[in-house]
Symmetry: C2
Subunit: 238 residues, 2 copies
């Protein structure tokens, strides 16, 4: 089985960067990307994920988990996104859970990945979570990830060992993530181009709305890193 | 939301008994059953689950998780069951993982149930696992269940509290499970009849094969409890 790494690829900026990091670490032939359709508001993320995997030359698979998760999160429902537009917690602000949080979503994805690992698909699982920018998402924090892996150890018992979990973005903020991607261009020449295909916006429009939480965070990250977002080329004068 | 309890109902003997225990504890109007189609070898379990829920008068739902879990377990694939026929570990035998173990299956089910709980569907999750008869299934052991719930606490963070997990069969062997069901007839008059609808056999034949691990365990339990299995009425002279 070797070092084959399975990357959970949502099609957003972070998971795309995470995919490039896995390719840089293990070589493109040892990496596979997995996207999960969990009934997202729109299909743009999954479409983006497929295009990114193709561009970077890794095998890509998608699992259908529609109609499984229940949530009032506007990421999942047809509820209005008006309330979550532009709300970005400042560093040091008291922890509160984001309205877009989908309970148990990351646990669900990681359970599937852990099953795939035991079935021989991978030895390592890469996930692009960050506790810096996503303090409002409990399941992006280190303490969750550690307890999750402890649980996997018990779930597998003598059928183990559990996969190794890799979270290369865990301590990076969005600017750090942008800089990481730039640094990966040497090992993964089309990494920056892949970033141009990534979709972070909560809306599923022709182009990013520029107003939702994800758009605001993304824009701030590129600005602070002194880079122009390749996804905006041809838009906004880019 | 009150005391509403969600019971993971596979349609087998244990989950049927667990459902009756939940009804006895909370009243039939406060209980809901959830079955999960994870690509089982045959559809008899899910069909049985639906019939049992209807008989006992509880709301029933099914979630489609087909083509999600990968496993060589004969419960999932079309592999032969010949190798697992009649293999029942004796108490005190060294722990080994059963060939029918599906890695991360219980974790997957519990993640879905935990999500449903946060979405307001239930305050308690009932699951009919037993570490007595299922020592060969790591995810039926108390240590797994405890670590799972710890993980849920971290996954939800400030979006909690997590549901309460109830495992009324955890320390019962199959004979004890049979006796429990008999004792529940006072509170749940059709409990024993429901047991007659339950399906434990790994095969999907007209009647239980009588040879697989599940059939052997089930028969031994009824025998030791001094009861006749109501699922075998009309078969074997019953």
């Amino acid at each position: 089985m070797g070092v084959r790494a399975l990357v959970l690829l949502s099609g957003g900026q972070d998971s795309t960067t995470c995919l490039a990091a896995a390719i840089a670490a293990h070589g493109v032939e040892n990496v596979e990307a997995l996207s999960i359709d969990y009934g997202q508001r729109h299909g743009k993320e999954v479409t983006a994920a497929q295009a990114i995997a193709r561009l970077l030359g890794v095998e890509w698979d998608v699992v259908d988990l529609e109609d499984v998760l229940l949530s009032t999160s506007p990421l999942l429902s047809d509820a209005s996104l008006d309330d979550v537009r532009g709300i970005v917690a400042e560093p040091g602000a008291p922890r509160r859970v984001e309205q877009t949080f989908v309970p148990m979503r990351n646990a669900l994805f990681l359970v599937v990945a852990a099953n795939w690992s035991v079935a021989g698909r991978c030895k390592r699982i890469y996930v692009g979570v960050s506790e810096e920018d996503y303090g409002g998402y409990p399941d992006c924090r280190r303490e969750f990830l550690e307890s999750f892996m402890a649980m996997v150890g018990f779930a597998l018992g003598e059928a183990g060992p559990p996969p190794i979990l890799e979270c290369p973005l865990l301590h990076l903020d969005k600017a750090g993530t942008v800089k990481l991607m730039r640094s990966l261009e040497v090992a993964v020449p089309r990494a920056w181009e892949a970033l141009g295909l990534s979709w972070s916006c909560y809306e599923g429009g022709e182009r990013p709305c520029g107003k939702c939480h994800a758009c605001v965070l993304r824009a701030r990250g590129f600005e602070r890193a002194g880079e122009f977002d390749p996804a905006l080329e041809g838009i906004d004068g880019g």
